[in-house]
Symmetry: C2
Amino acid sequence: MFSVSARTQYAIRAMVCLARAEGRQLTTAEIAAAEQIPPKYLEGIMTALKNAGLVSGERGKHGGFRLLKAPADIPMLRIIEALDGSVMPVNCVHTPDLCSLGCSCMPRQFWIGLKDVIDAYMRDHSLQDIAEGNDHGH
Amino acid sequence: MFSVSARTQYAIRAMVCLARAEGRQLTTAEIAAAEQIPPKYLEGIMTALKNAGLVSGERGKHGGFRLLKAPADIPMLRIIEALDGSVMPVNCVHTPDLCSLGCSCMPRQFWIGLKDVIDAYMRDHSLQDIAEGNDHGH
DNA sequence: TATTTCCCTATCGGCTAAGCAGGAATATAC
DNA sequence: GTATATTCCTGCTTAGCCGATAGGGAAATA
């Protein structure tokens, strides 16, 4: 349960790769080879990361991707949200209108609390923590 | 992301229903009608809850389901695990052998930490908290 | 014996995720 | 200015899971 999509795991590994490159540009081919990710599939992932403002992509020869911020300033939550949207256990967390059941949706507060806990954890861990293998958060 | 399956939401609503019945037996038909759940589908869910030791099912006339413990003694985690297995963001959390990538699986500690946070939250909230609409945990 | 209920197995349709393919746009190098 | 390398865009295919349904078998009661 609560399994993380391969897409998101790929994205995180790619970001770790870029973090270790320390500003150097890497091509999707390089990242894909280093992290065992299907190259064409990775392209779409990098696009999502770019649209989220996490990386910059430059085309042409000597093109590639680089981080737009220091790894320490990139919360893991940003990466996850860039890929799969926001953490939302059940739909009615954001759109309570869906609860046509009246009192039957008592669990709503429970899910909201869960979302808060997950968000907080992911905000308190930065890309740098992952890249360095540090599991204590910052 | 991290969306909860309809199956699990049905299970929780059914358990709330049983909690409010205070020991009285309820049939799947009754629960399904009260909670707007497809009756046949609910049957399979009740079987899962029974196999997890959370409810007892008795057949025949005047049969039905009842809780095996007081709602306060049923952590939400138990219900979720009964349906969708244990919380496990990525496979390698429990079976590190899957990490054939060596250092590429640096995020593992991150996922383990996330699992711990989620588990703790769900352990600290009981069925009674949900049934009463109390969102503060116990 | 009839009825009610839980229990088991199989099946179906729809949706999403994962991955692939082909090419268009753009920047560099010679 | 032509060739090359790279990001970018669009669509497609396949496989697997999820929600739901169907039909009937086993047990408990009246």
